[in-house]
């Protein structure tokens, strides 16, 4: 167990950590830190959930009437 990782340095590397893009020793250091740190465990849960929450909250569907009106617009303009 090393002290190479504190919360702040772990947060800097979090995306690479979650995408398994770190060297094995660094990855293990972060795993050790997160396992022993309730704050990082909680923060990782929020960080992981954030893209999914924003994806769901910003989902927009093309209105049906726009589908044909776009083609009509483009026919007029060319």
């Amino acid at each position: 167990m090393t002290d190479r990782i504190v919360c702040a340095s772990g947060v800097e590397l979090l995306m690479d950590f979650l995408e398994d893009a770190l060297p094995a020793d660094l990855r293990a250091d972060i795993e050790d830190h997160v396992a022993s740190c309730a704050r990082c465990t909680a923060f990782v849960a929020s960080y992981r959930a954030t893209p999914r929450i924003f994806r769901a909250a910003t989902l927009a569907r093309l209105p049906e009437d726009l589908e044909e009106s776009l083609l009509a617009f483009l026919r007029r303009r060319r």
């Binding site: 947060v11 992981r48 959930a49 924003f54 776009l70």
Partner: protein
């Protein structure tokens, strides 16, 4: 010869469209219009702006198809046009400068430990349970608008449209490492923003 029943590739349709095949161009429009609209809505935060960006995107695609080089994927080329169109519409319409989201980056004490409690750090993960769905939708759009320029499009393409980092890099003309750095910082800001929204003051 096209295989019967097989869908033409984007690139094959583009080549036919360049040669004046109007139905091939319209097939490309039908194939991508919903995705371009969704992307534009996320980048502009506004349905009317998304509609304008959608029209502008396909007008530019039509006018510039001759410049499409087949060594790039058609979708990469199209999404570059769509991203620029959406950001252009958003820039001209922005009513007031958006307050930046930097204030929501995580905070640490002098030893580099998280300054907040576990409960405060966890709360963003429960935002959907804690917040009204319509409020969350409105605030999510506002938060994306408040991301710094350069971070907004990286986050939207990578995390909301779920594209590979390499494709986002090709669309934005950045190195993959730069895309990852921007997406990461944008996620940190959005996570902090969600925490505040769900109950923690910054």
């Amino acid at each position: 010869m096209p295989v019967p029943g097989a869908e033409a590739t984007d690139e094959a349709l583009a080549v036919r469209a360049v040669a004046g095949d109007e139905p091939a161009f319209e097939d490309l429009v039908r194939r991508y219009q919903a995705r371009v609209y969704r992307l534009a809505a996320r980048l502009t935060g506004n349905d009317g702006d998304a509609q304008d960006a959608l029209q502008e995107t396909f007008l530019q695609v039509y006018r510039n198809l001759g410049g499409f080089r087949r060594e790039a994927r058609f979708s990469t080329w199209l999404y570059r046009i769509a991203t620029n169109a959406a950001l252009g519409v958003q820039r001209t319409r922005r009513r007031r400068p958006a307050d930046p989201l930097d204030a929501f980056l995580p905070r640490f004490d002098a030893e580099g430990r998280h300054a907040r409690t576990p409960a405060q750090l966890q709360v963003a993960a429960c935002a959907e349970e804690l917040l009204d769905q319509r409020l969350l939708a409105a605030k999510a759009r506002e938060a994306i608008e408040r991301l710094p320029d350069g971070y907004r499009e990286a986050l939207v393409l990578r995390d909301l449209e779920e594209m590979e980092t390499s494709e986002v890099a090709a669309i934005l003309g950045l190195e993959p490492a730069a895309v990852r750095q921007r997406v990461h910082r944008a996620r940190l800001m959005l996570a902090g923003y969600l925490s505040e929204l769900a109950g923690v003051k910054p």
